[in-house]
C-alpha cells in the first residue's frame, strides 16, 4: 500500500521507473549493438576454441561408438574376477563384424593396443577368422573366440575393453603429468626414466620465473629513467625500448642466434678481449642460457611499459619530501617510491610471467634440448604425433596454471591494484 502511494509518476501518468526503463532501453540496445561484433568475435575465436579444446582433451567416444553392443552386454558382467559371459563375447563379435564391413576394425585394434599391449595381434586374428567365415554364430561365440588366441582367455584384455567404455577420459591429463590408469583402475606413475613432462613443466615454471625476475631487475631502472629524464632524452630512450618491440619476434630471435652461437659475435668478442680461449668457446645457445637471454630481452618491454606508466604518475616532490623529512635517499626510495610502484610491478611481473610460461618460438629456436618449454611439447604433439587430444589437454593444463597464478596474485596483491597504464 505504502509503496504504491510512494510511486512517482511522470507528468503524463506513467510510473517513473517504467519511463526510465523505456528511455534507457534504446541506449542499452545501441550499446549492445556496438559491442556485439567484439562479443561475436570473442565467442568464435576464444570461447568456442577453448571449449573445443576441452572436448578434444577428454573425448574418448571412438571405442564407445564402435562397440555399442559389447558395452551394453558388459553391464551384466558382474564378477570381474572371471571372464565375461557369453553375451559380452557375442556383442563384441557382432560389433567387430560390423566394423570389418565398414573397414574400421584397424582403428579399434590400434586404440585397444594403446590400452593394453598385444591387442592388435589378437584382433587381427579375429579379423582373419571372420573373413574366412570360420565363426559359427549358432554355437557359443565365447568358446570359439577363446580358441583363436590365448590372450582372449586373459581377463586383463577384457578389462581393458571395459576401461574404454566411458565416453570421456582423464587419461590425457594424467599422461601430461606422467601418470596413467593402471589395469586395476588405480592411478600410477610412469617409470622414472620416462617422466619427461614433469621435467618440462618444472622447467617452464623455472624459466618463466627467472625471466620475470631478470626483466624486473633490468626493467625497473629503465622505467625509472624513462619517467624522470627530461623529455628529449626520455623520448629517445622510449624509442630504444619500443624499437625491438616493433621488430618481428622471429627477426629478434634470429639475431640472438647470430649473436650467441659459438662462432657468433659475443663469443668473438670474448675471445678478442681474452676472456675465453679460441678453442674453448662457451655454448650460449641451444641450452637454457640462450632461452634466458633471448626471452628476457624480448619480454623486457612488457615489464618496462606498465612500470613506466605507474612511475610517471608519482610526483617527484614525494621523493623530495621523503628526503627533506630526513630520509636518506635509500630510505626515501624504499619507503616512499617503491611502495607506490607496486601496482606496476604486479602488472609487469604478471604480464611477463604469463607470456613467458606459454612462450614458443624463441625457446624452439634457441632453446635446444635443455631450453625448451611445455609449449614446444604441445607443438610437437600438434604437428608430429598428431595427438591433438593430448596437445589440447596440455594446453588446458597450461591455461589452468595461468589462471591459478592469477588467482594467487589476486589473493596476495589484489587485481584492482594492477595498473597497465
Amino acid at each position: 500500500m505504502s509503496s504504491e502511494t510512494k510511486q512517482i509518476l511522470t507528468t503524463d501518468g506513467i510510473p517513473l521507473e517504467v519511463s526510465l526503463k523505456k528511455a534507457e532501453k534504446k541506449n542499452k540496445i545501441k550499446a549492445f549493438l556496438l559491442v556485439a561484433p567484439l562479443l561475436l568475435f570473442l565467442v568464435i575465436t576464444y570461447i568456442f576454441p577453448i571449449g573445443d579444446m576441452f572436448m578434444r582433451s577428454v573425448d574418448d567416444r571412438m571405442v564407445t561408438n564402435m562397440l555399442p553392443k559389447t558395452f551394453k552386454a558388459m553391464e551384466k558382467w558382474e564378477n570381474l574376477e572371471e571372464l565375461p559371459p557369453e553375451e559380452v563375447y557375442r556383442g563384441f563379435y557382432e560389433d567387430y563384424k560390423l566394423l570389418v564391413e565398414k573397414q574400421e576394425h584397424g582403428k579399434l585394434g590400434q586404440r585397444l593396443n594403446k590400452e593394453k599391449n598385444g591387442f592388435n595381434t589378437i584382433t587381427k586374428r579375429l579379423f582373419r577368422q571372420i573373413k574366412r567365415n570360420k565363426i559359427d554364430e549358432s554355437i557359443s561365440i565365447k568358446d570359439q573366440i577363446n580358441k583363436i588366441h590365448k590372450r582372449w582367455r586373459n581377463i586383463e584384455f577384457w578389462l581393458a575393453i571395459k576401461r574404454t567404455a566411458p565416453p570421456y577420459t582423464m587419461a590425457k591429463y594424467l599422461k601430461g603429468m606422467d601418470m596413467y590408469v593402471a589395469s586395476d583402475g588405480s592411478i600410477a606413475q610412469v617409470d622414472e626414466d620416462r617422466r619427461i613432462h614433469r621435467i618440462l613443466w618444472l622447467r617452464t615454471l623455472e624459466i618463466a620465473f627467472f625471466v620475470t625476475l631478470f626483466s624486473f631487475f633490468m626493467g625497473y631502472p629503465i622505467a625509472h629513467l624513462l619517467a624522470t629524464l627530461p623529455m628529449k632524452y626520455s623520448n629517445l630512450l622510449m624509442i630504444c625500448v619500443l624499437l625491438p618491440f616493433w621488430t618481428s619476434l622471429l627477426v629478434r630471435t634470429a639475431s640472438w642466434m647470430i649473436l650467441l652461437q659459438q662462432q657468433g659475435v659475443v663469443n668473438d668478442f670474448f675471445v678478442m678481449i681474452g676472456l675465453v680461449g679460441d678453442d674453448n668457446r662457451p655454448e650460449m645457445m641451444y641450452n637454457k642460457v640462450g632461452t634466458y637471454v633471448a626471452m628476457t630481452q624480448i619480454l623486457l618491454p612488457f615489464m618496462v611499459l606498465p612500470l613506466y606508466s605507474v612511475m610517471k604518475t608519482i610526483s617527484p616532490s614525494l621523493m623530495r619530501a621523503g628526503k627533506s623529512l630526513g630520509g636518506t635517499p635509500f630510505v626515501a626510495f624504499w619507503k616512499v617510491y617503491f611502495p607506490l610502484t607496486i601496482p606496476g610491478i604486479g602488472a609487469g611481473c604478471l604480464l611477463v610471467f604469463i607470456l613467458a610460461i606459454g612462450y614458443y618460438i624463441t625457446p624452439a629456436l634457441v632453446g635446444g634440448a635443455s631450453g625448451t618449454l611445455i609449449s614446444n611439447q604441445i607443438a610437437f604433439h600438434m604437428k608430429t604425433t598428431l595427438d591433438w587430444s593430448f596437445a589440447s589437454a596440455m594446453g588446458l593444463m597450461l591455461l589452468t596454471g595461468v589462471l591459478v597464478i592469477y588467482w594467487i596474485y589476486n589473493k596476495l596483491v589484489g587485481v584492482d591494484n594492477i595498473k597497465l597504464g
Binding site: L318, R320, A321, L325, P329, V331, L340
Partner: protein, 361 residues
C-alpha cells in the same frame, strides 16, 4: 633571549641551470631566527630556486648558504633538518596520516612513545586530532594541507620552507589557512621561509617580504613599508594597485619635485630621482586620491568619470585625468556615499608626499 639575526644567510649566491642565464643573481639575504619571511615575485623570478637551494635540492652555482653559521652547500637535504611543505602537499599516498607524520621521526629513530606524543601534539596543533588512521586521499584539500604543515613541523626543524602551499585551495580556505599558519608560526616561533606569488598572502602573513624579480631581490622590508613606500616602480606595480604617470622632472628640491607630464605638471615625492631632466614614473595608490578633498592638498585636478564598478565593500571609479583614462579611484562603501555617475566631472586631490617619483618604466 638573543636571536641570531643571520640564522639563514644567502651569501652572494648565483644560480644558473644552463650556464647561459642566471636565474638568481648575486643574492644577499639574511633571515633572522624565528622570522616569517616571504619570497614574493612573479613566476620565473627565482624565488622557488632560492627555496630549493636552501632545502638542498639545487646547488648554488656560486656563493654560499649558511644555516646558523654553518655552510650547508655540501650537506645533502636529508641531513639539513629543514622541514618543507610542498606546493601539492606531497603527502605519501600509501601511508595513513599517522604514518605520514611519523615518517620523519621514524627515520630519526625516535622511540615509539615519543613518536605517538609528537604526532598527537602536531595534529592537535593543526586541529586534526582523530584523523590518524585516515589516508590522505580521504581528506579534503585543506585537511591535506594541514597534515603537510604538521608533518613539516613534527620533528622540530629549525627552519620550515613553504613552497606556495596554499596555491591549490579556494579563496576562503586560503584566507583561513593564512591565519592558521601565521598563528602556528607565532605560537612555536620557528623560522619560516615562505614562497608565493600572491601578494595579499605575503602581506597578511609575513614579518618581512623579499620581492623578487629577474633573479634579484627588489625590496626587502616589512609589509607596511613595502606597500606604502615601494622603492622602485616594479615593487609599486607588483604590490597592490597603482596609478602611474610617466614624465620628466623639471624642478627638484629636498622633498618635492615637479614632474612634467604630456600636458600638465604634478608635484611628487622624489624617491629615485636626483636631478632635473630625469625621466620618471610617478606612482600613486588609488586610495590616496580623494574626491572633493576638504583639506588643502598640493595636487588638485578635475577628471571625468569613465566607469563605475561596484565591488561590495568599495566602489572602483575609472577616471579620465591628466590625459590618461586609466586613473583608478577606490571609494570606500560608507553611508555618506556620493552619487557617482559616468561622464560626471569630479575634483580629485592628493598630497605630493604620496606620489612617489620612481625610476622610469
Amino acid at each position: 633571549m638573543s636571536k641570531n639575526p643571520e640564522f639563514v644567510k644567502f651569501d652572494k649566491v648565483d644560480k644558473s641551470y644552463d650556464g647561459k642565464v642566471l636565474v638568481v643573481k648575486d643574492l644577499q639575504l639574511d633571515i633572522a631566527e624565528g622570522e616569517f619571511i616571504t619570497m614574493l615575485g612573479p613566476s620565473g623570478s627565482g624565488k622557488t630556486t632560492c627555496l630549493m637551494m636552501l632545502a638542498g635540492f639545487e646547488t648554488p652555482t656560486h656563493g654560499e648558504i649558511l644555516l646558523d653559521g654553518n655552510i650547508i652547500s655540501n650537506i645533502p637535504p636529508h641531513k639539513r633538518g629543514i622541514g618543507m611543505v610542498f606546493q601539492n602537499y606531497a603527502l605519501f599516498p600509501h601511508m595513513t596520516v599517522y604514518e605520514n607524520l611519523a615518517f620523519p621521526l621514524r627515520v630519526r629513530k625516535v622511540e615509539k612513545d615519543e613518536i605517538d606524543k609528537k604526532v598527537d601534539k602536531a595534529l592537535s596543533m593543526v586541529s586534526l586530532s582523530g584523523f590518524e588512521t585516515r589516508m590522505p586521499a580521504q581528506l579534503s584539500g585543506g585537511q591535506q594541507q594541514r597534515v603537510a604543515v604538521a608533518r613539516a613541523l613534527v620533528f622540530d626543524p629549525a627552519v620550515v620552507l613553504m613552497d606556495e602551499p596554499l596555491g591549490a585551495l579556494d579563496k576562503n580556505l586560503r584566507e583561513s589557512m593564512q591565519y592558521e599558519i601565521k598563528h602556528i608560526h607565532e605560537s612555536i616561533g620557528v623560522t619560516v621561509v615562505y614562497v608565493t606569488h600572491d601578494q595579499s598572502e605575503a602581506l597578511t602573513m609575513s614579518n618581512r617580504i623579499a620581492v623578487f624579480n629577474d633573479g634579484k631581490v627588489q625590496q626587502l622590508s616589512n609589509p607596511a613599508e613595502l606597500y606604502e613606500k615601494p622603492v622602485n616602480s616594479f615593487v609599486a606595480e607588483f604590490i597592490g594597485e597603482n596609478n602611474t604617470f610617466n614624465g620628466e622632472v623639471v624642478d627638484i628640491d629636498k622633498d618635492k619635485c615637479k614632474v612634467k607630464l604630456a600636458n600638465s605638471e604634478i608635484l611628487a615625492n622624489p624617491i629615485s630621482v636626483k636631478s632635473k631632466g630625469e625621466k620618471t614614473t610617478v606612482s600613486l595608490r588609488p586610495e590616496r586620491a580623494l574626491i572633493n578633498p576638504t583639506d588643502k592638498m598640493d595636487n588638485m585636478f578635475t577628471g571625468k568619470i569613465e566607469e563605475v564598478i561596484y565591488h561590495g565593500d568599495h566602489t572602483r571609479v575609472r577616471l579620465n585625468l591628466l590625459g590618461s583614462s586609466e586613473f583608478i579611484l577606490k571609494v570606500p562603501n560608507s553611508t555618506s556615499n556620493l552619487e557617482l555617475k559616468v561622464s560626471q566631472d569630479i575634483n580629485i586631490g592628493w598630497n605630493s608626499v604620496d606620489a612617489r617619483a620612481l625610476d622610469p618604466k
